[in-house]
C-alpha cells in the first residue's frame, strides 16, 4: 500500500461510519418529521431503499409537508415544554454556577499536594452511573425521605417539605449531576492564572475582595462560560432527571419527546419535536464550538 492509499483508508473508515450512523439518521428524522402520521406509524415501512435507485430518492422527497410542525405550534403543550425546558435549564445552570464556582475556587486555594486528589474526587462521580446518582436523591427528597426526617428531627420544620416531584427536585438533580462539568473548566482557568496578577493588583492598591472581582472573575470568564454551556446544553434535552425527580406538571422537552415516541407512538411528531429541539440548541452549540476553537488557537 502506498502512502496516499493508507491516508485515504485512515480518513474513510471513521468518516463513513459517522456519515452512516450520525448524518444519515438525521436526514431520516427530518424526512419522517415531514411525513404523514398514518404512513409512518409503526409497523414502520422503510421509506428509502437504495435498490429503487433514482425513483427511490424521488419517492423519498415527494409528499413532504409541514403538518407535524404546524401541529407543534398548535398545541400549547409543545411550546410550553420548550419554554419550560429552556427556563429549567437556565435556572439550574445558574444554580450550578453558584455551587460550582466556590468549589472550584476553593480547590485552587487548597494545598498543592491535595489538588490531584480533590480533582479525582470531582471526576469520580462522573464515572459512576448517572441513573444511580439521580436515584440516590429519590430516597433523600421523598416526603417521608431522609431530608424530611432529618429536618423534622432538628425541629426546623413541623410538616414535611414537598420537594419530590416538583421542579425544585429537578433543579437539585441537575445541579448534582452536572456539577463536575461546571467545576472542571472553572478550576482549570483559575489554576492556570498567574498569582502575580493578584499580587500586582494588591500592590497597586486593591483590597483582596476587589482584586477578586476585578482580576480573578474577569479572567475566569472563559471557564465560567464553558462550564455554563456544558451544563445548559445537555440540561435542555434532559430526560432522566425530570422523569424520575420531576412531577407530572414538570414539562421538559426530552420527556415530551419520550412520551410522544413510547406512549403515543406518534413517530412523525416525535421527529418534529427532535428537529425543533435541535434548532433551539444549534445557536448555543455553535457559540460553544466557536469558543473552544478560539481557546485552542489561543493556546497555540
Amino acid at each position: 500500500m502506498n502512502k496516499g492509499w493508507r491516508r485515504a483508508v485512515l480518513i474513510a473508515v471513521p468518516y463513513l461510519w459517522l456519515l452512516f450512523f450520525f448524518l444519515v439518521p438525521f436526514i431520516i428524522v427530518l424526512k419522517i418529521s415531514l411525513s404523514d402520521t398514518a404512513i409512518a406509524m409503526p409497523p414502520y415501512v422503510p421509506t428509502f431503499s437504495l435498490s429503487e435507485g433514482w425513483s427511490g430518492i424521488q419517492n423519498f422527497f415527494s409528499g413532504l409537508d409541514f403538518e407535524n410542525f404546524a401541529w407543534l405550534l398548535d398545541d400549547r403543550l409543545y411550546i410550553n415544554s420548550y419554554l419550560s425546558s429552556l427556563w429549567i435549564a437556565l435556572v439550574s445552570t445558574f444554580l450550578t454556577l453558584i455551587v460550582g464556582f466556590p468549589l472550584a475556587y476553593g480547590m485552587t486555594r487548597a494545598p498543592e499536594s491535595w489538588r490531584p486528589r480533590l480533582l479525582m474526587l470531582i471526576i469520580l462521580p462522573f464515572w459512576t452511573s448517572f441513573l444511580i446518582r439521580v436515584y440516590a436523591w429519590i430516597g433523600i427528597l421523598k416526603t417521608e425521605g431522609l431530608l424530611n426526617q432529618f429536618l423534622l428531627w432538628l425541629g426546623v420544620i413541623n410538616d414535611p417539605l414537598i420537594i419530590m416531584n416538583t421542579n425544585t427536585a429537578v433543579y437539585i438533580g441537575i445541579v448534582y449531576s452536572y456539577l463536575p462539568f461546571m467545576v472542571l473548566p472553572i478550576y482549570s482557568t483559575l489554576d492556570k492564572m498567574d498569582d502575580s496578577l493578584l499580587e500586582a493588583a494588591i500592590d497597586l492598591g486593591c483590597s483582596k475582595i476587589s482584586a477578586f472581582w476585578r482580576i480573578t472573575v474577569p479572567l475566569a470568564l472563559p471557564g465560567i462560560a464553558a462550564g455554563c454551556f456544558l451544563v445548559f446544553i445537555p440540561a435542555v434535552g434532559e430526560f432522566v432527571i425530570p422523569d424520575l425527580l420531576g412531577g407530572s406538571q414538570t414539562l421538559m422537552i426530552g420527556k415530551t419527546l419520550w412520551n410522544e415516541f413510547f406512549s403515543n407512538r406518534d413517530w412523525p411528531v416525535a421527529s418534529a419535536v427532535a428537529i425543533v429541539l435541535l434548532l433551539l440548541l444549534v445557536v448555543p452549540i455553535l457559540i460553544f464550538q466557536r469558543m473552544l476553537e478560539r481557546e485552542q488557537e489561543g493556546s497555540k
Partner: protein
C-alpha cells in the same frame, strides 16, 4: 567586566563608595532599613538576619544566585511576605503592620503581571483608580506615564498584542504611575533577549535619574547589576555577603564567594609568608601558593598574620602573558598553555602551573589570530602587579 560603560562612570561620580557612610554621619533617615530580618519557610531559612540601609535616590541592586533570598527580601518590602522576626522601616516608620495595598511601594513583577483583560491604558490607570483620583487627573497621569515609556501609540493594545520589550515598559509605567516612594523591580529584564536587555538597562537608568525615585532591583545577572545600580548588595544563602559600589565589589571583594560570583577570578590556595617590601607594596603581604616555589606580593585588607591559610584572588585580565621572563615584574610564575579560548576581541589562555592548577590570563587580541605568537603547549610566563592580587581569608 570588559567595557567600562558610561553608567559605571556615573556610579563612581554620583554615589562614591563613601557616600552611604556620609549619609550615615549626617544622621539622615534611610528610605529603607532592614533590622535583623529573618524569614523562615518551615525548616528553610530564606533570609538570615539581614540588616541593610538604603538611601533616598539610590538605584540599589540585590544580586545573588537563585535561592539566595533576594526575592524574599523584596517581597517582604512589598508586603507579600511577613518576616519571621526583625523590623523593616520605610522612611523611619515600621511598615510591617501596613497591608501591601496601603504601602507607598510599588513593584514591577518578573512576569510583568500585566492584566490580560485590560488595555495598556487601563493597566497603567489601574492603581490610580484605586486612589480615588478625579477622572481628569487619572487621564493626565496615564498620558504622562505613556509618554515616559514611549508607549503613546500603543495605549489601546492588549498585553498579548505587544512584544516583550513593550510589555516590560508598560509594567514599568504601571508601577511608577502612583509615584511610589520606592520602586521594587524583580528581575525586570529577565525575559528579554541580550541585545534588548542592554538597551533597556540604560533606559531604566535614565528614567530613574529623571524621576529621582529610589529603585531596588533584584537580579542574578551581575553585568546588569553593575550597569544599572549605584550600590550592590551581594547575597548568598540568605545572608548579605557584601554591600558596595559596583567598582568596589569588583576590585575589593570581601570573600571568595563574592570574588568568584562577580566576574571571572583565579583563586589559589596557600598561606601568608610575611610582610611584602617594595615601592607600591604598602599593606601588602607575601603569599606562597601550595605547591609552587615562588611567592607573590598582594593586597591584604584583612591584615592576616603570617602562617594563616588564605586564597589569592587575581582577575584574568590583570594577568599578563609572555614567552619571555620579565625581569622587572614582582609577581611572576611559569606554566604551560593548556587551552586557548578565542572570542574575537579577547583570548583567554588557560595556563597549567607546576602544582597542576590552571590559571586564566586574558589578553586583548591586538594582532590577527594567525599571527598570534603563543600557542598550545608553549611554556609561558604569567605576571601581575602588586596591586592586582587580593588575599582573602574566607
Amino acid at each position: 567586566m570588559n567595557e567600562q560603560s558610561s553608567t559605571q562612570k556615573r556610579n563612581q561620580q554620583t554615589v562614591s563608595g563613601n557616600s552611604s557612610t556620609r549619609f550615615e554621619k549626617e544622621g539622615r533617615t534611610p528610605i529603607v532599613e532592614f533590622r535583623n530580618v529573618v524569614k523562615q519557610f518551615g525548616e528553610f531559612t530564606a533570609v538570615d538576619d539581614v540588616s541593610l540601609k538604603i538611601w533616598p535616590g539610590e538605584f540599589f541592586a540585590l544580586l545573588g544566585p537563585s535561592g539566595c533570598g533576594k526575592t524574599t527580601l523584596l517581597r517582604m518590602l512589598a508586603g507579600f511576605e511577613t518576616p519571621s522576626s526583625g523590623e523593616i522601616l520605610l522612611d523611619g516608620k515600621n511598615i510591617l503592620p501596613v497591608p501591601p495595598n496601603k504601602r507607598p511601594v510599588n513593584m514591577m513583577f518578573q512576569s510583568y503581571a500585566l492584566f490580560p483583560h485590560l488595555s495598556v491604558r487601563d493597566n497603567i490607570a489601574f492603581g490610580l483608580k484605586r486612589d480615588g483620583m478625579t477622572k481628569e487627573n487619572i487621564e493626565a497621569r496615564t498620558e504622562e506615564m505613556l509618554k515616559l515609556v514611549r508607549m503613546e501609540n500603543f495605549a489601546h493594545r492588549k498585553p498579548h498584542q505587544m512584544s516583550g520589550g513593550q510589555r516590560q515598559r508598560v509594567a514599568l509605567a504601571r508601577a511608577l504611575a502612583k509615584n511610589p516612594k520606592l520602586l521594587l523591580l524583580d528581575e525586570p529584564l529577565g525575559a528579554l533577549d541580550a541585545k534588548l536587555r542592554e538597551a533597556t538597562q540604560f533606559e531604566l537608568v535614565n528614567i530613574q535619574e529623571k524621576l529621582g525615585t529610589t529603585f531596588i532591583i533584584v537580579t542574578h545577572d551581575q553585568e546588569e547589576a553593575m550597569t544599572v545600580s549605584t550600590r550592590i548588595g551581594v547575597m548568598n544563602l540568605g545572608i548579605v555577603a557584601q554591600v558596595d559600589t559596583p567598582a568596589g565589589i569588583y576590585e575589593n571583594p570581601s570573600s571568595r564567594f563574592v570574588a568568584d560570583f562577580i566576574g571571572d577570578v583565579n583563586l589559589l590556595e596557600g598561606r601568608i609568608e610575611g610582610e611584602a617590601k617594595g615601592k607600591h607594596a604598602e599593606g601588602n603581604m607575601l603569599f606562597a601558593a601550595n605547591g609552587i616555589e615562588t611567592t607573590f606580593s598582594a593586597r591584604c585588607p584583612d591584615q592576616l598574620e603570617a602562617g594563616t591559610t588564605c586564597w589569592l584572588a587575581v582577575r584574568p585580565e590583570k594577568i599578563a602573558i609572555s614567552k619571555e621572563k620579565d625581569t622587572k615584574a614582582v609577581n611572576q610564575v611559569s606554566g604551560v598553555v593548556d587551552d586557548i579560548a578565542y572570542v574575537g576581541n579577547l583570548s583567554t589562555y588557560h595556563v597549567r602551573l607546576a602544582n597542576g592548577r590552571v590559571i586564566k590570563a586574558q589578553e586583548v587580541n591586538r594582532r590577527r589570530v594567525e599571527n598570534r605568537e603563543i600557542t598550545w603547549e608553549d611554556e609561558v610566563w604569567l605576571s601581575f602587579t602588586e596591586g592586582a592580587g587580593l588575599l582573602l581569608a574566607e
